[in-house]
Symmetry: C2
C-alpha cells in the first residue's frame, strides 16, 4: 500500500541546533541549501517521494500554474463570482477536474447540486406549489391538493398553472434560480456589502430550497444527483454534513429522521454498486446552533442512538449556522458532554473558528472543539490567531477542513492569496480542501476549491506533491476505519496512476 | 532594574503532554481555563506582572479601545490617509502620544520631519533654486549663484523670485508639498493603483527632497527637528537608517560621508544635553540595493571603517530600496561576507521579506538575512510564509521591525487587521513597532503606528501589557550594549511610572 508521508521533526530540531551555533562566520551555501530544502519539505506535499512520471507531470503542472500566476486578472484575487468564468477557461482547472481528488470531507446536504437542475427538473415536476413571501422571497411545496397558506406569504399557486399563464416563463425561472443561490452576475460587493447581509441571504436560500428537497422523491434524486456531480468531478468519497430532516409525500404524510439516514445509506450503496470506482459516503448529523439547551440535549441523544443503530453510515455529529450570531460550543457543554459521560461513542466534527471576531466568546470555539475531542475542525479560519489551539490541532492530527470559496463569499477574506490556510499549508498543518456549499456559491464539485487552494494559497510554492498530499489527506483524515482507509487509498492510488499516465500520454 | 519578561516554554510543553492524554472524557473547566490563560500569556505582554496602578490604567485603556472597536468606520480597516483624521480625534491616540514608547528602531533619515516644515521653513530660506523636470516632478538646490541646468529639466529659478512673480504662492507651495510626500487627500487607491506605481512615486519623492536635505545647514536642522518631533511624541531613542550622503554648501563645496556621521553624533549629543530625558540615537548606514557588486564591496569597506572609527554612533549596515525590483542579499554575498572573513564587527540590520512575491528569489532574503546573522529584520512581512526563518528568528531573538502604516501605504496589506504581525504578536514573536518613513506617509512620530498595531493587529486581545512590552522590546532589541540598555530601561521605567500616575490622576 501507499506509505503516507511523515514529517521530519527530528531533522528540524537538529538543524536549529546547528544553526544556533553558526553566527559570525560566512554563510555556508550547503547549510543555506539545506535550510531551503527543509522549508520546502515542511509544506504540504513537500516531503513526498515522487515517481519519474509524477515528476514529469509536475513540470507540466508548474508550467500551467506559471501561466495562471502571470495573468493580469488573477482569479484567486477576484471574488469567485467574477473569477469563475476565468477559472473555467483555464487548462489547469481542466487538469484539476480530471485529477482524482479523493474525498470531500466538508459539504452540506442541500448545496450539493447545481440550482439549474432544481429549477429545470424539480420545479417542473407535477404538484409543485409556489408562494411569495412578504420579504421578496419564495417557498415551495409538493402536494396533491392546495396546501394551507403560510403566514407572511401569498396564497399557494400551482407552478405549472402560473407558468402557463405567463408569456415568458424564463423570467420566473431566473427569479427562482436567484433565490436558490448566492451566486449573482451583479457586483457581489454591492449585493452583499457585509457579513450580516450575506449570511442572512445564505440562510434564507436554504429556506427556499427546503420545500423542494424535503419532498421524499426529490430528496432521493437530489442526493443521487449530488453523488453523480462529485463522481464526475473525480471525487470518490463524501462525508455529508446532513440535517436529516423529516421528509414528506404528496399526501402530506411524513418520514422521520431515520428514513433520511436510511435513504442516504441505500442510495450510497446503489451508487457504489453502479460505480465501482466510487468508494462511498458517510453522514455527519448536524443541528443548528440556534437551538436551545434542551433541544440540543435531545439532538445529542438522537445522534447517539443513530450512531449505535447505523454505525456504517453515521460518522458523527456537528452544529451548523453562523458562528458569530449563534451559540458557542461551551454554551452547549452539558449536552455535548453526554456521550463521554455515558461512555458512548459519538465522534464530533465541529465547525469552529469560521469567524474574524478575534478575542470574543465565539472565538473560543476552536479551543473548545479540541477540548471536546473533535475529530476535525470545520473551517478553522481563525486558527492562526490561536497558537495553543493550533498546536493541539497539529500534534493530535485534528485536520482543518479548509473551504476557500466559502470563506471568500461569506466575506472572511477578499483576496484568496491572503487566506490563513496559505500559512497552514506552508507549515504542513493537517488539512483538507472542501467545498462547503458549492451550489450556493455557483461552484460544482471540488475542483474550483482545489484551484483556489493550489494557485491562490499555493502561489509559487505549491506543486504536484501538494496536490497529491491534499488528495491523500482527504482519506487519511476521513472518519473511515483504518482498514477502510487502506482500501480507499489503494483505490485512489490506482486512479491516480491512471491519471498521471493519461495526462502524460 | 526591571525584569524583562520570560516565555513559559516548559509550561507549554507540559500542558501539551497533559492534553494529549485527555481525549474521551468530559472537558475539565480548569484545564480549559489553563489553556485559555496559556494562550493569553503567550502573546506579547501577556506574561507581564502588572502593578495595581497599571491594572487600573489597563481597565481605562480597554474602555477606550472598546470605543474604537465599536466604530462603524474602523480606522485600521481604512487606508491610513483616510484613517488619519479619525485617529487624531481618538482619545486612545492622545493617550498613546503621551505614553513613553521607548525607541524607534526603524526609521529613515529623510522622512523624519513633516513636509510642512520643509516647505514653509526650508524652501523659504535664501538662495533656494527650483527646477521642473520633464516628468512633472521638481528638484531643489541651494546655491550662491545660478546653478548649471540639470538634464531633462527646466532652467533653475530662484524660488524667492518665482514666488514674487506669482499672484498666489500658496498653490506653488501645495504643489511642492505634494511632491515631497505620498500623502494625498485624493482617493489613495486611485492615485496609487499598484505596488509599482506607489514605489516609483516613493523613490521619486526622495529625489525631490534630496537637494533640500543635503544642503549642509538644512541637514543639521532637519535632523535636530526630527529628534524634536520624536521627543515630543515621547520617543526617547532612535536608530536611524541613514544614507550618510555627501552634503554641500552654498558655494558648491562638499562634505564627505563622515561629516554626515559626525554631524549626527554631535547633534545627538547636543540634543541629549538639552533634553536629559532623551537617551540618544545611533546610525545604521544604508546603501541602495540597486548598486552593482563592486560598489557594494566599496560600501561595506566604508561601513567597516566607520564602525571602527565611530563605534558609539555607528550601529551597523543595511540595504534599502524596493526589494522586489532590487538585488537580493545572496547576490551580494561576497561583499556581505567581508566583515566575517576579516573577523571585523559590522552588525547587519537587513530589510527582508518586505514583499508578497512568495516563492521567488527575493523571497529568500529572510532566510539569507538570518544566515548573515542579521541583528534584526526590517519589516519581515513575509515571515509567516517561512516557517524555518520564523523559527530561527524567534529562537535567536532576532526581532522583526514591524511598520504597519508603511506596509499599508506601500500596498502589501489593505485592512491592517489582516497584517501578519497580528499573528506574530499573538505568538509572542520578538518584534518592535516602527514608523519607517512617517513624513512620506503623512504621519508624525511613532504614535500612529502604535495605534494601528494596538487597535488593528491587537483587536480584542491587546491590553496595557502589550503596550508595555512593545515599548520595552524597543530597548531590549536595540543595538545598545547591555550596560546602556540597562540605563535606557531605567530611564524608560521612570517615564512609564510617571505616565501611569499622571493618566490615572
Amino acid at each position: 500500500m501507499t506509505v503516507l508521508p511523515q514529517r521530519r521533526h527530528v531533522a528540524v530540531a537538529c538543524l536549529f541546533l546547528c544553526c544556533a551555533t553558526l553566527g559570525d562566520s560566512v554563510p555556508d551555501p550547503r547549510i543555506r541549501d539545506t535550510l531551503m530544502q527543509l522549508e520546502a519539505s515542511m509544506q504540504i506535499g513537500g516531503n513526498l517521494v515522487l515517481s519519474e512520471a509524477e515528476r514529469r507531470l509536475g513540470t507540466y503542472i508548474d508550467k500551467l500554474k506559471g501561466e495562471e500566476l502571470a495573468q493580469a486578472d488573477f482569479p484567486p484575487a477576484l471574488h469567485f463570482f467574477k473569477a469563475k468564468p476565468l477559472i473555467r477557461k483555464s487548462p489547469l482547472y481542466s487538469l484539476l477536474q480530471k485529477m482524482p481528488k479523493g474525498g470531500v470531507l466538508h459539504v452540506h446536504d442541500f448545496s450539493l447540486v447545481d440550482v439549474d437542475w432544481l429549477v429545470k427538473n424539480v420545479t417542473y415536476r407535477p404538484y409543485c406549489y409556489i408562494c411569495f413571501t412578504y420579504d421578496q422571497s419564495m417557498r415551495f411545496l409538493f402536494s396533491s391538493r392546495l396546501p394551507k397558506p403560510l403566514p407572511q406569504c401569498s396564497p399557494w399557486m400551482l407552478l405549472e398553472s402560473l407558468r402557463a399563464k405567463m408569456e415568458n416563463a424564463t423570467s420566473l425561472d431566473t427569479s427562482i434560480m436567484t433565490n436558490l443561490t448566492l451566486f449573482t452576475e451583479e457586483e457581489p460587493e454591492v449585493v452583499y456589502p457585509s457579513q450580516d447581509v450575506v449570511w442572512k441571504r445564505f440562510e434564507q436560500s436554504f429556506q427556499v430550497i427546503w420545500g423542494l428537497v424535503t419532498y421524499a422523491p426529490v430528496f432521493r434524486d437530489y442526493y443521487y444527483r449530488g453523488l453523480t456531480q462529485f463522481y464526475i468531478d473525480n471525487v470518490m468519497y463524501l462525508e455529508l454534513r446532513a440535517l436529516l430532516p423529516e421528509t414528506y409525500e404528496l399526501d402530506g404524510s411524513t418520514h422521520d429522521r431515520t428514513w433520511s439516514l436510511r435513504t442516504y445509506r441505500d442510495i450510497t450503496a446503489q451508487f457504489v454498486a453502479e460505480h465501482p470506482d466510487f468508494f462511498g459516503a458517510r453522514v455527519i448529523f448536524t443541528v443548528h446552533r440556534g437551538l436551545n439547551e434542551s433541544m440540543m440535549t435531545q439532538a445529542v441523544e438522537e445522534a447517539m442512538k443513530m450512531q449505535r443503530d447505523f454505525p456504517e453510515i453515521m460518522a458523527g455529529f456537528d452544529l451548523v449556522g453562523h458562528e458569530d450570531s449563534g451559540r458557542s460550543l461551551w454554551y452547549f457543554r452539558q449536552a455535548l458532554s453526554l456521550p463521554a459521560e455515558r461512555g458512548v461513542s459519538l465522534p464530533f466534527f465541529f465547525h469552529a473558528g469560521e469567524t474574524d471576531l478575534e478575542g470574543t466568546e465565539v472565538d473560543q470555539n476552536l479551543l473548545d472543539a479540541l477540548l471536546f475531542n473533535t475529530s476535525r475542525i470545520g473551517h478553522g479560519f481563525a486558527l492562526l490567531r490561536h497558537p495553543v489551539a493550533k498546536k493541539l490541532s497539529r500534534e493530535r492530527g485534528v485536520a482543518v477542513e479548509v473551504c476557500p470559496i466559502s470563506n471568500q463569499v461569506l466575506k472572511l477574506v477578499t483576496d484568496l492569496r491572503n487566506h490563513p490556510a496559505a500559512i497552514l499549508m506552508l507549515e504542513g498543518h493537517p488539512l483538507v480542501i472542501s467545498p462547503d456549499d458549492p451550489a450556493m456559491f455557483g461552484a460544482t464539485g471540488l475542483s474550483y476549491d482545489f484551484y483556489e487552494a493550489f494557485v491562490g494559497f499555493g502561489g509559487h510554492s505549491s506543486h504536484i506533491g501538494t496536490l497529491k498530499e491534499l488528495a491523500m489527506n482527504s482519506i487519511r483524515y476521513s472518519s473511515l476505519s483504518p482498514r477502510l482507509q487502506e482500501q480507499a487509498l489503494a483505490l485512489w492510488q490506482r486512479q491516480w496512476e491512471k491519471f498521471v499516465s493519461e495526462i502524460l500520454s
